[in-house]
Amino acid sequence: MSDSRRGRGARSLRDRLEGRLLTLLAVATSAALVVAFYYPVGTVLVEAVRVDGAVTLGVFAEILRDPFYFGELARLFAGESPIAVASDLASPDRRLGIVGFTAYQAALSTVASVALGLPAAYLLARFEFPGRRTLRSLTIVPFVLPSIMVAVGFVATFGRNGTLNAVLGALGLPPVDLLFTLEAIVIAHAFYNAPLVARVTTAAWESVDARAVETARSLGAGPLRAFYDVVAPQLYPAVLTGAALTFVFTFGTFPIVLALGGFQLATVEVFIYRLVRDLSYAEAAALAIIELVISLGVLLAYLRYEARNTVRSRGARPLPRHSLLPSAPTARKFLPRVGLAAYLVVAGLVFLAPIASMILASVTGGDGALTLEHYRFLLDRQQTGAAFQVRPWPAIRNSLLFATGATLLALPMGVVVAVLTTRRYRGRKLVDAAAMAPLAVSGIVVGLGLLRGLVFGIEVAGWRIAVAGSVAIVLAHAIAGYPFVVRTVAPGLEGLDRSLIESARALGASRPRVIRDVELPLVWPAVVAGAAFAFAISIGEFTATVVLATGADAYTMPVAIERFIGRRLGPATAMGVVLLVVTGLSFVVIERLGGEHRGL
């Protein structure tokens, strides 16, 4: 007996090396996080508390007391009576300040996203119709669409010469100018976040056990009452998840506001960008910290709520879906469907119009006739553009290279973190939080930290280390993308039957070997999805890139679009279409590549 055990022990030498491999990957991931995230962010944050070599909180105090940032609330921080501040806040000519405005637009965006997302969840969760699954899958698309492209789409839709005004003009109505208004920003945010709300709510709705509703009905509750008592309580947490995430995302919004609001409607993030451009690093860093504290506060409050309200329903039988065509011509059957039809018109306007307008604008000349002049402009620029000008091919090439590099980095990092955070051990939550922090920190801060650290060069033990802007961009993109790999892979790993893993171990497989032989093959679709996410995040990343690409020729497609916006919309929309096509093709390629490896 002991002989054979020793036999296995000898063979497990290779397993032990594999065991080291996992540790090595974990160390490498931690090192990457430190180099590309914690150290750069740390250096930026230190600037906020160090003025002329002395540690001070003066920069914070100034920002907190400045009505420009905090509006009426600044007077509270400056020591004025809360009652006076409250009464001024209630008055119509209150000043919100930049932070106040950011929170205000985030709140409005959250309301709009929930309002636009819930009917979609109702449609997706409760009705059966051809293409339902496809539509459900499509709700992920806005999330990975490059924000600057979406912004261009919104300009093409709501601008003075946009599609909306063209339609209004054709109907003989006066034109409206929604550009550089709060409305445009809120609608654009809803474009991004309503699908998120719809996704989480649909998932919750689908996990409501039909037996619970049937029990309520058999106990005497009517359909509405059963919904209110049984279904709704299971939906609240999901709606709140969607709302909390929407608030955090829109609080840290950057490209949308930059393109649609300009500096007139600046949010905190836009203003940080401006301060960075003005080289006011200390103030930028302090503002970034304040932004981070608020975002994290909302996230933490939400996570506490979630921890108290998590209901796990397994093996639930979902509610049967209705047909979209009413089975009987009664008001109760018709009303919801009429409502959904009206909703679909609105949703079509919000979700399809920007993309359609962008494509349309890219082939429409100044005179309104169809033309390819904008694409010709891109070609001309490629051939004759000066060195300082943005040319399309380098942008495409850079985007693809950076995205490939970022994906190759983000994928192993994400898988390792997913493995580490789905095991049970003390301090797991801490690891989880540390690994997910990049989600909460502004891309500007990461970009700035990388720029002033690695790119400008740092001295380590007498060696000067400096990396090219392009390398820093790849690092920043990998850091931005890998949490999404974790978030797609971890639930799959978590959902795996523990006895599969234990069976493999009892058969002699070491822990890393089990990951390779059993766990990864079983969650492979999630790994592919994670890769697609990382790729898409990198392709669309604008915030850190725009900081790191300054002056360098490391610009990407989104940066090119932003630089083109300045002149006329045409070239920007043409570049946007190029981005759309490249992103779409990349997804197909990733899917194919992933498919081949499935049988691993």
Binding site: M1, S2, R5, G7, E502, A506, L507, V518
Partner: protein
């Protein structure tokens, strides 16, 4: 006398070999506990599983049986105590180095591998025993579990029973020293379960592999095992061969968990030593002479006591009636069973509280020495027999009969049918 392993001689050469060699037990748990925070899932358990033995942990859910199995497999490490394989501590040895085969309730076949790949998976880490090739070993095992043509099939295309047989084959393929089965049949329907358990027992006997089996089904435990540990609240209440557990349960819990039982508790009112009655009560006297007469049976008459149950005195034998026969069987003293209950128990004296049980099949209609007048409360027709619940002065009595009963009946049992247990 519960600890005497009177079945031992019949249950296989391996156990006998263990006795003669004085080899250390295949698996030994020595004061093992597993605590999760405040609660102890396994509480100071000491068990020994002999080489080649089919050992079953049985108990209600939450009794710690599965945790005990996981401690043996190495999926959990004990918070106290030691697990030894053949005398060697396996503390800190990960599951993959323990040479155990594990079969789970939900089969846990790797869905992305064929049946053959599943069975062969463990051969990635160990050479096939017997000098055969990997493919031959896989074929050999599929043959063993009666699925000779299944190698290329997708596990999900198999029925539950077939999947479980593949899981058994997979666990056995690397030639483990120990087979651990965690409720392997709970997900199967009753008929299949009975067939599969015969098959599992056959395979185990053929290979002579030491096996630890976990089940909540006491009937399954009795049917399949060499020895059974009946667990409750994280520790075994009794460890003994199935017949002993059934006939001579050590405790009230075991008596009621294993099969149907009637448990009585009352005060001893007299003690009859070989026919002579010492009594301090008047009413006990009427029955006791009969009792002595029936049970004396010649030499060394068993001792009986009269126990007052709700005003009636029932005569109960307190010496083990089978004891003389048991002594003939070589006793495996190096593997003591956990509770030496009856040995420790003091001879009951007048005024002591006594708890005993009588199996429903021992209660005879209009027969037996202790007679109880009761009325039929309900009856369940089970096919072969009918299980009747009687109301005896406000207490439930379970009786098994072949003939339908109704109205008022008299049931009875002899003092020797009663078995004294710990409360």
């Amino acid at each position: 006398m519960n600890t005497v392993d009177f079945e031992e001689a019949a249950t296989g050469a391996a156990a006998a070999a263990a006795t003669t060699d004085h080899a250390p037990p295949a698996v030994e748990l020595d004061g093992v506990s597993k605590r999760y925070g405040e609660t102890a899932a396994v509480d100071d358990v000491s068990l020994r599983v002999r080489e080649g033995e089919f050992f079953t942990l049985v108990g209600p859910s939450g009794c710690g049986k599965t945790t005990t199995l996981r401690l043996i497999a190495g999926f959990e490490e004990p918070t106290a105590g030691t697990v030894r394989f053949s005398g060697e501590s396996v503390a800190g040895v990960p599951p993959e180095d323990r040479d155990v085969g594990v079969v789970f309730q939900n089969y846990a076949l790797f869905p992305h591998m064929s049946v053959g790949e599943n069975v062969g998976y463990g051969l990635n880490f160990a050479d096939p025993p017997g000098g055969v090739t990997r493919d031959e070993r896989v074929a050999e095992l599929l043959e063993l579990v009666d699925l000779p043509d299944a190698a290329d099939r997708d596990p999900e295309s198999l029925s539950g029973g077939q999947q479980q047989r593949v899981a058994v084959a997979r666990a056995l393929a690397p030639g483990p020293d120990l087979l651990l089965l965690d409720e392997p049949m709970s997900a199967l329907d009753a008929q299949l379960r009975e067939r599969l358990r015969v098959q599992v027992r056959r395979i185990q006997s053929e290979l002579g592999i030491t096996t630890v089996y976990v089940t909540h089904d006491q009937e399954e435990a009795l049917a399949i095992s060499d020895r059974v540990a009946v667990m409750r609240d994280g520790a075994p209440e009794q460890v003994a061969p199935p017949r002993t557990v059934y006939r001579e349960p050590a405790t009230r819990f075991v008596a009621e968990f294993v099969g149907d039982n009637n448990v009585f508790a009352g005060r001893v009112v007299d003690v009859a030593e070989g026919g002579a009655v010492e009594s301090d009560t008047a009413e006990g006297g009427a029955v006791e002479s009969d009792a002595a007469g029936d049970n004396a049976g010649g030499d060394g008459a068993p001792r009986t006591v009269g126990v007052d149950i709700g005003g009636e005195t029932l005569r109960v034998a307190v010496a083990d009636r089978d004891a003389p026969d048991d002594r003939d069987v070589p006793d495996d003293r190096d593997v003591p069973d956990d509770r030496d209950v009856p040995d420790d128990r003091d001879a009951p004296a007048v005024g002591d509280r006594l708890v005993f049980c009588v199996r429903p099949e021992a209660l005879r209609i209009d027969g037996g020495e202790n007679r109880l007048r009761a009325t039929v409360a309900s009856a369940e027709f089970l096919g072969e027999t009918t299980r009747v619940t009687l109301d005896w002065g406000g207490r439930d009595l379970l009786v098994r009969t072949r003939d339908p009963l109704s109205g008022e009946v008299v049931v009875g049992f002899d003092p020797g049918d009663a078995h004294v247990i710990d409360d």
